[in-house]
């Protein structure tokens, strides 16, 4: 145990040999999240409505204000304006088409989730007006919110980036440090040492797990600070991240062992992290995409991880179609990669060169 702890301490000391890589790997996802959360995703936004002139148009504005958001906070803040087409703003204008007053929507710098919200709010407002005209016999808008409280999209976006943060730190740092050992000739220290491969790899993997989880923790805290939403169980979040971080650590070390060069190893870590993030439910749950994309997405370890994290951020709502299969899939990935790592480490480091 003492040797293991000393090996672990050494692994952390080696951070000083690659400070820039550590900074990028640990902080990049959090910085990216902050920028995207602030610049690209606005939980509540202004809707500019061109100065209403008729009674019907005024009623629409009132109806929209009444509708608000079906699950709590207002997505839309109607603002009356005389400017017909302000740049990069959402606009609703009442126009007359063949003598029929029609609400015309224009969208600017918004994401698809907000488009959906806008459309839904407008539809709801129009239904309210329609209902008012028809009286008690009209169609009633009966809302059945899935969640008891509104959760802005920034929460999903941040939640899906937490696995990215853990993965990126473990894979990128793992690969870079391993390759550096070859480049600097320090691998010879490992080649000649009597300590077992399994103990050495255990120390390396543990260090990467802790680094990956630290990177994830930074993003988790940032996410909470920005959105005010915290997981119902923080320890559960980090336990769920463990298999993915283990997979990342194995992939990173393998890249370092196979390429023996720091730049390609760094790039393997970076590229795999972003591909896994983009394809692995980074912007929306896999089930929300086409069946082919969903099938591909489910092969990526991020998807089952995000589906497991989901209930902790979304009031216990389960989205994983088959949680047991997902857990087995992750366990299988971990096992295969650990075996591969042991074989490649032996081949590249400890066995005699033929």
């Amino acid at each position: 145990m003492k040797r293991y702890l000393l090996l672990l301490l050494n692994e952390f000391r080696l951070s000083r040999t690659a400070l820039i890589v550590h900074t990028i790997a640990v902080l990049q996802p959090t910085l990216m999240y902050v920028l995207m959360a602030v610049m690209m995703v606005v939980p509540t936004f202004d809707m500019r409505i061109v100065q209403p002139e008729t009674e019907l148009e005024n009623d629409l504005v009132i109806a929209m204000e009444e509708v608000g958001s079906p699950i709590g906070s207002n997505y839309i803040n109607p603002i009356l304006t005389t400017q017909a087409n302000p740049e990069h703003k959402q606009v609703i204008e009442i126009v007359h088409i063949d003598g029929v007053p029609t609400a015309l929507q224009s969208y600017g710098f918004i994401d698809s989730n907000l488009v959906k919200n806008l459309r839904n709010r407008l539809t709801a407002a129009l239904l309210v007006l329609w209902n008012r005209e028809l009286g008690s016999q009209a169609v009633l808008v009966d809302e059945h919110p899935w969640l008891p409280q509104d959760v802005p999209y920034t929460v999903y976006f941040g939640m899906a980036m937490i696995p990215l943060a853990a993965y990126l730190a473990a894979a990128m740092i793992g690969g870079y440090l391993m390759a550096q050992e070859f480049e600097h000739g320090t691998i010879l220290e490992y080649r000649l040492c009597p300590t077992s491969d399994s103990l050495l790899l255990a120390a390396k993997i543990t260090r990467l797990l802790l680094t990956g989880l630290a990177a994830a923790a930074i993003l988790y805290i940032t996410l909470g600070a920005i959105t005010g939403v915290w997981a119902s169980s923080a320890p559960a979040v980090f336990v769920i991240l463990l298999p993915l971080t283990l997979i990342a650590a194995c992939i990173g070390i393998l890249a370092g062992l196979l390429t023996r060069s720091s730049l390609p190893s760094f790039l393997v870590g970076l590229a795999s992290a972003f591909v896994f993030w983009l394809v692995g439910s980074g912007f929306g749950l896999a089930a929300g995409f086409s069946p082919i994309f969903e099938r591909i997405s489910r092969l990526i370890p991020n998807t089952p991880i995000i589906e497991m994290l989901f209930p902790y951020f979304y009031f216990g709502r389960e989205v994983a179609p088959n949680p047991t299969a997902a857990k087995l899939q992750l366990a299988g990935y971990c096992l295969v990669l650990l075996v591969m790592l042991a074989i490649v480490y032996r081949q590249r480091v400890t066995s005699m060169q033929r």
Binding site: K2, R3, L6, L7, L9, N10, R13, L14, R16, T17, H184, G185, T186, L188, E189, Y190, R191, L192, C193, P194, T195, L200, M352, Q353, R354
Partner: protein, 312 residues
């Protein structure tokens, strides 16, 4: 050679493609010996060390280190040996002390006594004052001394030292030689590879001269030089001696060369004893400006065995 055998190499060959780096080498190293592998760059010295350390697999042959078979008992061998490679592979961003801690975790059987051993070795290599400094700030000699301290940390019985003073200044060189000699007094066995003849001559108890992967001579530096049975004579005359083979025919000289137009260099048996008659004979025909009689160096030994100078 000491009675107890530390290393035994039997008919070892190693090829890289069509190149034979080590060709049927056999030798034994005794315990407590400083054994040198002497040869030019590319002679196969480092390959030989890598083979004995189990880093390379031989095409044929057997090696035993302290009784352990290198091929099948590699981990046991690793516990008993230390290695200072040619290119000092230290973590430059870590301090001297941290480099030693790194090594301790990988190599030391007993982690309890490591701190004391570390302090002892840092004092021994005169690095105690700089133990907290990053290795990046160290001179070449300091890095080599730290590498030696690191190799000694787990108290190995045999230390392999590849080109100990390569790139080290004169002062650092003497310090390193002193450290090696002191460790030998404590019972350590050293195998050093070098192409520095002064180092080989000063430091080694026995030398294996390697050329193109083959052993060309194996003995103590004194015996190797004594085995030459001739001295090197260099004379300057005015004018230059013409037809020296004829002029010096009575002295049975060999390997006559003319490094300068007025200088003649040749090998001659018992040159000191025969110097008086030689001087008399030359002075009778030429103005003798200078005469220098030297014992053969290891370079001459190498030249004798391979037909070319070590530095070629």
């Amino acid at each position: 050679m000491a009675n107890e055998i530390a290393i035994e190499v039997s008919s070892v060959t190693r090829t890289f493609g069509s190149i034979t780096a080590v060709d049927d080498l056999s030798f034994k190293v005794g315990k407590g010996e400083i054994f040198g592998l002497l040869g030019p760059n590319g002679a196969g010295k480092t390959t030989m060390i890598n083979l004995v350390l189990g880093l390379l697999k031989p095409n044929q042959g057997k090696m035993r280190v302290l009784g352990y078979d290198v091929a099948s008992q590699t981990k046991q061998v690793y516990r008993k040996v230390g290695y200072v490679p040619q290119e000092t592979n230290l973590y430059l961003d870590l301090s001297a002390e941290e480099n030693l801690w790194h090594h301790a975790a990988l190599y030391c059987q007993d982690l309890e006594g490591v701190k004391d051993r570390m302090a002892e070795l840092l004092h021994f290599t005169n690095l105690w004052q700089r133990r907290k400094d990053p290795v990046r700030t160290f001179s070449g000699g300091m890095k080599r001394r730290l590498a030696l301290a690191r190799a000694l940390l787990h108290n190995p019985e045999i230390i392999f030292f590849d080109e100990p003073t390569l790139g080290v200044d004169v002062q650092g060189r003497f310090a390193l030689w002193e450290h090696i000699q002191q460790q030998r007094k404590d019972g350590k066995t050293f195998v050093i590879s070098t192409n520095n003849m002064v180092e080989a001559d000063t430091l080694c108890d026995r030398l294996l001269i390697i050329d193109h992967g083959k052993a060309v001579a194996l003995d103590s530096p004194e015996n190797l030089k004594a085995g030459m049975r001739y001295d090197i004579v260099s004379i300057r005359t005015s004018p230059a001696i013409e037809a020296p083979e004829t002029f010096l025919a009575d002295y049975s000289v060999q390997n006559i060369s003319r490094p300068q137009p007025d200088e003649l260099r040749f090998e001659m048996q018992s040159a000191e004893a025969r110097a008086t008659s030689l001087i008399k004979e030359i002075s009778a025909a030429y103005q003798l400006d200078s005469i220098l009689i030297a014992r053969p160096s290891l370079d001459d030994v190498f030249l004798f065995h391979t037909g070319r100078a070590l530095r070629e």
